[in-house]
Subunit: 363 residues, 2 copies
């Protein structure tokens, strides 16, 4: 999707891909297949690149520092990116900045989890490995010392957090360029099912203007303080008592910003590229009163084509974005977007298409 | 741009390109470099393609018939495409269908041009080679027998046409699929400078509803009668006496439809692909009251990058589409699009950016 956004800007890509079957490798014309965890591979890849950016945050921080030391512009830089890679570093830094977060601390073993639970008023406690988790992986909701064992099995440091009583999840997406220009997209509501983002509604319905402003300001402040270059997604909890707390950070185009491809004047992908290349940023404003994005997850049927035809025929205004991935149950293989004036109608259309493509409904 | 539109649809391309430097060859990942006039090249290229389509109409009709005979789906097929390749065939067919065209006939030599001028009430006469012309090339406005010599020099049959007294030029863009589904985009005004499209305004300002409907119906009828599959652009004259006459046909995404990338629910590129693959067509409706597209022509300065930065900074809502072509004076190297509620403002923004990028203005 970043390549797609780069075409009209005249931007050429070289892609480092795990495998030739990677979704991006199917559409980019200069593909290097290699392991992003290997510094020699990264160094050879980086030769001749004007700038390096990412579509995930798993490249080891120390390798990115080595590339930077070689004189390769890495955007976002490792000094910023580490806050999206390591939840322990992120929580410590945000707390030092006075940004509201769930109560948290690093926990060392199950007995320490019990002590942490006592500190915050009792179980349940959320445990997260500080690195490597996503889409609900590397996250445990535990109610006892016995429950806590799994989180420590990987040998990765573990962060304990209070379970926040939240009304809903929000995301504040902002983009910042090296010279400090920044734009903020409307704050969105992100609905999760089984730890995976299911539906994003832009803007978040009924969000109090002061909370919306606070969420945008928080995201812009984090981007500035951490020196983020490119797209920053700040995932937030809107608490039952009317606060916004930071949940996670992502420093790349993010699922909560996919709606911008069809719903904003400038997409998150275009603005990420504009930021990474230090071009002036584009207008982040929405193009319709409501835009809804629904993720398409793989269902029981590996062949999605007949469903794809049905959805296109049923709703000519539906925007379909398939990733060219093989269908596996529960895997994100695409998303759909709808936009219009009536929130219920726009939501129903997006949910219908996503559910039909997954095989959850057949009419 | 067709590749760009194909990415979200999950469509993979193989590109036959004249040179590795071709704009499309820079972004597509499966490129065959070869001569589209060579049947053996075309046959080798076509192996393994599900369907063949075009971004120009210069592939020889007989080669396309040979591919069709080999069982390769060619869309639009040669039986339709010949009407966009050969202006003589096009005029004869449209006339037989009763579609209003400028008065015309094939002329054999300068003396015959004089006879044709007499038949239509005198000079000037427009001469066009029946094949190979575009952007004002292969077209002559002649006022005498002596003037007429140039048109016959290439040895290609020449069509004579009356010079139409027109208020303005319009274009009706429609898309038709193999099973006969069709959609019509709003009729646009196309402003030409020196025979090259300069600005397109969607929808055509102040166009009488009955002329708009007539233009759309004419385009849909031509698409149906000729068996067009894919995008059909019908370039029209709106005459001073209130008629619409067909000027040219193009059977591919067309400059007069570039506005749809940013201005319509479904772009001409996406709908061309949907048609060519016999997928249900997408909604052609406009997303804003006014969308204006201005072509970016190369100017005196080969380096356009500083101007590009200036335009992005000046107008964050400007949509820039660069083609990755080397800049040469007068060459179409990109286009810009603006949209909004106020026609004058939207037009001024697009014209400013195009003129600035060309180096015609410096503030």
């Amino acid at each position: 999707m970043t390549h797609e956004a780069g075409i009209p800007l005249g931007i050429s890509f070289r892609l480092l891909s795990d495998t030739p079957q990677d979704a991006a490798a199917r559409v980019v014309n200069d593909v290097v297949v290699g392991d992003y965890r290997d510094l020699a591979t990264l160094r050879a890849f980086a030769k001749g690149c004007d700038v390096i950016t990412f579509d995930h945050e798993h490249v080891p921080t120390e390798h990115l520092r080595a590339l930077e030391a070689d004189g390769i512009p890495v955007r976002p830089g490792p000094g910023a990116l580490v806050h999206a890679q390591d939840k322990g570093v992120m929580r410590a830094r945000l707390t030092s900045l006075g940004v509201a977060c769930p109560r948290h601390r690093i926990v060392t073993d199950p007995a320490d989890v019990v002590r942490f639970a006592d500190e915050i008023g009792g179980f349940p406690v959320v445990l997260k490995t500080v690195r490597g988790g996503y889409d609900g992986k590397g996250v445990w909701l535990v109610r006892s010392e016995e429950d806590a064992g799994d989180a420590f099995r990987a040998g990765v440091p573990v962060l304990g957090e209070e379970r926040v009583a939240f009304r809903r999840e929000l995301a504040a997406n902002v983009v910042r360029s090296p010279h400090g220009q920044a734009v903020a997209y409307p704050v969105v509501e992100s609905r999760q099912v089984d730890g995976v983002c299911d539906t994003v509604i832009a803007p978040a319905p009924g969000l109090a203007p002061e909370l919306s402003a606070q969420a945008q300001e928080t995201a812009l402040r984090i981007a500035g303080e951490l020196g983020v270059v490119g797209h920053l997604a700040v995932e937030l909890f809107e608490t039952e008592d009317g606060r916004v707390l930071v949940n996670e950070l992502a420093m790349r185009p993010h699922n909560s910003g996919h709606w911008t491809q069809d719903g904003a004047v400038t997409s998150q992908f275009a603005n990420h590229l504009r930021a990474v290349l230090d071009l002036p940023l584009g207008d982040p404003r929405p193009r319709a009163p409501w835009t809804v994005m629904a993720n398409v997850l793989g269902g029981a049927y590996p062949e999605m084509y007949p469903a794809y035809l049905h959805c296109m025929a049923r709703d000519p205004g539906l925007k379909i974005h398939m990733y060219g991935k093989d269908v596996r149950p529960g895997r994100k293989v695409g998303h759909v977007t709808t936009f219009g004036d009536d929130l219920d109608e726009v939501t129903d259309r997006a949910r219908h298409a996503a559910d039909y493509l997954r095989g959850l409904i057949d009419e």
